[in-house]
């Protein structure tokens, strides 16, 4: 029997440079829900997200995916995970298409040319597949980076400030994309300084430093 996917934090704690950022965080995220991680600068939002991905070691407490510690099932967990950090993970000297097909290949998928075109058009950067990334603007690069989400069937999205450098239409489109992902049984952990409504589902709020 398959256990329903849940992301669980139990007694999670973290410190940086000897300063305690947060401790004793308990939280359960179920399929179809999203966790909104809020808090001022420097309260440890990015640190928390890097711990959720498994990039940073967990100092105190545990993070469980489907009831098992994420560090005990790294490969299986990475199959379910799509992370988007502050960096776009795009190489400047190769084309948009080469970048996207590489990141898709990393998660084991090969989007066709038409699919890639469709996704890029949806993200407002259609017709730029063959352009070098270095010739795109900051916002366009962000859009290309975000389009990875649509080319990856991972169940858990971990998004660090995804709305940064996006215009109003971009914010709306991303919110719709996340809403569709949640409707399909996906989950998301999102940090953002702007309060954004995503779908009809109210966010689970995790306020750090409060």
């Amino acid at each position: 029997m398959k256990t329903a996917p849940t992301l669980t934090f139990s007694q999670l704690g973290c410190s940086r440079g000897g300063r305690l950022l947060f401790h004793g965080i308990d939280c359960v995220l179920e399929a179809g829900r999203w966790l909104y991680v809020a808090g001022a600068n420097g309260v440890g939002k990015t640190s928390l997200l890097r711990m959720v991905c498994g990039l940073a070691p967990i100092e105190a407490g545990q993070i469980l995916w489907k009831g098992v510690s994420i560090h005990a099932q790294r490969d299986a967990y990475h199959q379910d995970l799509c992370y988007l950090g502050h960096l776009n993970a795009l190489q400047e000297s190769i084309s948009v298409r080469e970048n996207l097909s590489f990141t898709a290949a990393l998660s084991g998928f090969a989007p066709s040319g038409a699919q890639m075109q469709e996704v890029l058009t949806r993200f407002g950067v259609g017709g730029r597949e063959h352009q070098l990334v270095r010739h795109l603007s900051q916002g366009q690069k962000r859009r290309v980076a975000l389009s990875r989400l649509a080319l990856n069937p991972a169940r858990l999205w971990v998004l660090d400030e995804p709305f940064v450098a996006m215009d109003e239409a971009g914010v709306r489109m991303l919110a719709e994309l996340i809403a569709a992902h949640l409707e399909g049984g996906g989950m998301a952990v999102v940090t953002s300084h702007q309060q954004v409504a995503i779908g009809s589902m109210p966010a689970q709020l995790l306020e750090l430093g409060a």
Partner: protein, 232 residues
Amino acid sequence: MKKLQLRKLGLASVLLAALRREISLAMRQKGEVLTPLMFFVVIASLFPLGVGPESALLLRMAPGVLWVSALLAAMLSLQRLFAMDYADGSLEQMVLSATPLGLLVAVKAFAHFLLSGLPLVLMAPVLGLQFGLEGRALGILMLTLLLGTPTLSLIGSIGAALTLGVRGAGVLLSLLILPLYIPVLIFGAGAVEADAAGLGIGGHLSLLAALLVLSIFFAPLATTTALRISLE
């Protein structure tokens, strides 16, 4: 918004895609590939000019000089092995991907060999002629370089991963890695001399091959661990 139906890839195709990306990145920055090669040519050419045209001395020095130049040239390109992927976040994606990181690292080391080791192997006989090496010696030199340079890439990847994001990484990388290159240097350069002295070279080649096999097995493991630590 409908969900896309994506075609699944086998592991071999994933690794092939990673190799293709390494090569197309290198082709867009040809200078990066050519600089170590030119460095190799210049260093190896300075010796005949500096030592003078005494052919017996040059002949004796040749294998050692060519091998040391090859080590230094390999060091030069190693700094960039992970640096670009680290800077733009691609490395995070590789670490977090469903593809085993050890295999991706092995692909990167193999691409490094193709783009920096193999050109050295092909260039070596031309430089060997400057030192008065003859056909048979040139052949042995190429063979040892062919067996040795992949080991240089693999061992070097450990150092490149350890020094990621460190200031002054280049010098630190040399200090970490050059001592580990000593066995490859001894058996690589030694083979040509052993043959000139009329001894067999089977032992030297076997040891070079053994070093290669060992590093194929252990270097990706060590590199993965180092990468995870560097990204923390």
